[in-house]
Subunit: 247 residues, 2 copies
């Protein structure tokens, strides 16, 4: 095991093959990295997959919020630094700072994680992990927390049937697949003109194999869009996309 | 730049969040790693993205074939080793060996790459790169080459409209998205019972934004399935999936 510090940093490299149509890091890959760096530090702190699976439990991402000034571009190195902001019975807040190849901060991330029991699918008391609170960091994450996501007044609705590749090891729809489904509600031209400056996502209920989702979109303000993924009129996930014009 | 050798090896780690429903490395991630390791060695050899983009050209995967005895499982380290088998005017053959955490070989990969000009979308003479043929390796790749993919006599056909997230920096449908589209033609239950033992994929024509594909499936032999992704009755990609029962 490597030396334990309150902040954990990992360097990545954005290959051409990973880029989106705008030659930058896709939002889907961004969220994958958020999960990856969280997993890495949790493993290092002894509260990772191996420890939790002993009790048939595991971490589940409940909310993610991020703000990016810009995204890494093709062939650029970038780093994610993560730390635990808080830890209580119900959830743990984990923040991240993203830096570009020159070491300049290009964005921040806030995440909220729960632990569920894989048999009951219910939340588990996090304090049972005996997490050492000395690892809680006071490093600042200067982006606003995610407010409650209100129900969406759809201006349009799409339908999507979940399929094999959408499911992860928990057998529920993978976070990254929700991100993808939401991104796909806007056309290529929109992303050419605008960048996702801030994204807020909240997950309420697991989606299962064979279910068909309704994707509600409120884009009455094209720069501040609200989305909801519903199954049988119950919201499984809600999101807010804030776009800014590209220079 | 690191020391140049004929074979290039990189170690990866399979996190829980990356796993498929069978708790192993998804075929989509496998193909991502194939592209990633290829990119890494090409960069090291000075024939990567940065060099090619000077001429407004880039590598395009034309065929991929792999055979896996098993896939890495959750929390397992694995390595990809890659080398150039051949290099001519029209294409380059690049092979790979995959080893598990204990160093045991669990699979092999064969790939065929072309270089296209991004303006004309046509193939470019690879010998213009002045690739040093001393880097060609004689290491063996003991899996059969991919035979020509015959047209598919569909037993069933699905339809899919390409969307924003399907497109890469070339603005054509990403290889990994084709893999996903093909995998999704079979239900979760199939993957619980069978493993993809061998996969052959050949790419013929780029798919563009807004196009709708027909996915032709011939699963008359459920252990040896043929698939084709067609747009306007022209095959853009063909594949063969060989399944073996899980133990």
């Amino acid at each position: 095991m490597t030396e334990l510090k309150k902040e954990f940093t990992h360097k990545f490299f954005l290959t051409a093959g990973e880029c989106n149509a705008e030659l930058e890091m896709p939002v889907t890959l961004f969220v994958s990295r958020v999960i990856e760096i969280s997993t890495m530090q949790a493993n290092n702190l002894g509260i990772g997959y191996s420890r939790l699976i002993e009790d048939n439990t595991g971490w589940v991402l409940s909310r993610v919020t991020f703000e990016m000034k810009r995204y890494p571009t093709v062939n650029e190195e970038y780093t994610f630094t993560t730390w635990v902001e808080s830890f209580n019975r119900h959830f743990s807040q984990r923040d991240m700072e993203v830096r570009d190849a020159r070491g300049e901060v290009i964005g921040y991330v806030r995440t909220i994680w729960m632990i569920i029991n894989f048999a009951t699918r219910e939340g588990v008391d996090l304090t049972k992990l005996n997490f050492n609170i000395n690892y809680i960091s006071t490093k600042e994450c200067p982006i606003p927390m995610q407010p409650r996501q209100a129900p969406v007044n759809a201006t349009r609705t799409a339908h999507y049937k979940f399929q094999y590749s959408d499911f992860d090891f928990n057998r529920h729809v993978n976070t990254v697949r929700y991100v993808e489904l939401l991104l796909n509600q806007f056309p290529l031209e929109k992303y050419d003109e605008f960048m996702v400056n801030r994204l807020e996502m909240a997950f309420y209920k697991e989606s299962r194999y064979g279910e068909t989702a309704s994707v509600l979109v409120d884009d009455s303000n094209p720069l501040d869009c609200r989305l909801s993924v519903d199954v049988d009129a119950v919201s499984h996930c809600r999101a807010r996309f804030i776009f800014v014009p590209r220079k």
